[in-house]
Symmetry: C2
Subunit: 141 residues, 2 copies
C-alpha cells in the first residue's frame, strides 16, 4: 500500500464535517491480480433524493517543488482510477482533493485551466487549516 | 530541465535508424510563463505524401519498482503534453516511447489494456537492446 498523502487525515476530517461517512480507507480497486488504492470511499444519504451518494476521493497535496509534476501525476492517477472503477465501482463518483492554497494560485494558471477544461477531473477543494470542504466542482448534489 | 530518462539516448538512436531527423532535444512547450519539456521533436519526409511528418516523443523506461505508478505518471504527462501542444504544435503527433520488454509483459495486463483503450495514447515501442523501433501504434504513415 503506498504512503499516505500529507493531507490524508485533513481531508478525512473535512469529509466527516461535511456529513460523509468514511466507508473505505483506502478504497481498493482489484484488477487482473493487481490492487490499486484510492485514499477514501465515502457515502452520504441525500434525503431529498432518497438515495446514498457514493464517492471515492484521491488526495493530492501539491507540496513538491514542481507543481506541474504534481499535476501530471495527480491527473494520471485520477484517470487510471476512473477507468478502472467503471468495472468494480460503477455507482461511485471519483473526486481529486486539492488544497485551497493550490487551487487559488497554481490552478488558476493557463496551463492548469487548459488541462482541467480538457480532461474534466472532478475536484474537491479543501481548506487545509480549517479542515473543511470549500468547493465541489461539479457540485455533488 | 528534468533529468533525462534512462532510455533517452536509446530512443534517439532508434528514431534516427527509422529515418527521422531529430529537430528538438528536448521540445519545449511554453505556456503562461512555464516551460515543459518533451524528450524529442523529430520530423521525416514522407515522399509519397510530399509532406513532412512531425512527431514529439516522450520516453518512459518503466524501470521503477511499481509499473502501475510508472503508467500513472506516463499517462498524466502524455495527456498534459497533448493538451498543451494543441496551441503551440498543432501539426505534431505525440507518441509515448515504451520499451519492448514492458510492452510484451505489463502492457498486456487487463489493467493497462483498459486504460489504453480508454485514453488512447499513441505508442512507439522500441527494442532497448537493438535500439530500433519495433511498432508504432497507430502506424505513423
Amino acid at each position: 500500500m503506498p504512503a499516505k498523502d500529507f493531507y490524508h487525515d485533513t481531508v478525512k476530517v473535512a469529509l466527516v464535517k461535511d456529513g460523509w461517512t468514511i466507508t473505505d480507507d483506502p478504497l481498493t480497486i482489484a484488477v487482473g491480480g493487481r490492487d490499486l488504492f484510492v485514499d477514501f470511499g465515502a457515502e452520504k444519504l441525500l434525503i431529498a433524493q432518497r438515495r446514498n451518494q457514493k464517492i471515492a476521493v484521491e488526495v493530492k497535496s501539491f507540496l513538491s517543488p514542481s507543481p506541474v509534476s504534481d499535476l501530471e501525476l495527480a491527473l494520471g492517477q485520477y484517470l487510471v482510477y476512473e477507468d478502472l472503477m467503471r468495472g468494480s465501482y460503477p455507482d461511485y463518483l471519483l473526486y481529486l482533493a486539492v488544497p485551497q492554497a493550490t487551487y487559488i494560485t497554481f490552478f488558476q494558471e493557463e496551463l492548469v485551466q487548459i488541462v482541467i477544461d480538457s480532461r474534466k477531473p472532478k475536484l474537491l477543494i479543501f481548506d487545509e487549516k480549517q479542515e473543511i470542504v470549500t468547493r465541489w466542482q461539479p457540485p455533488i448534489q
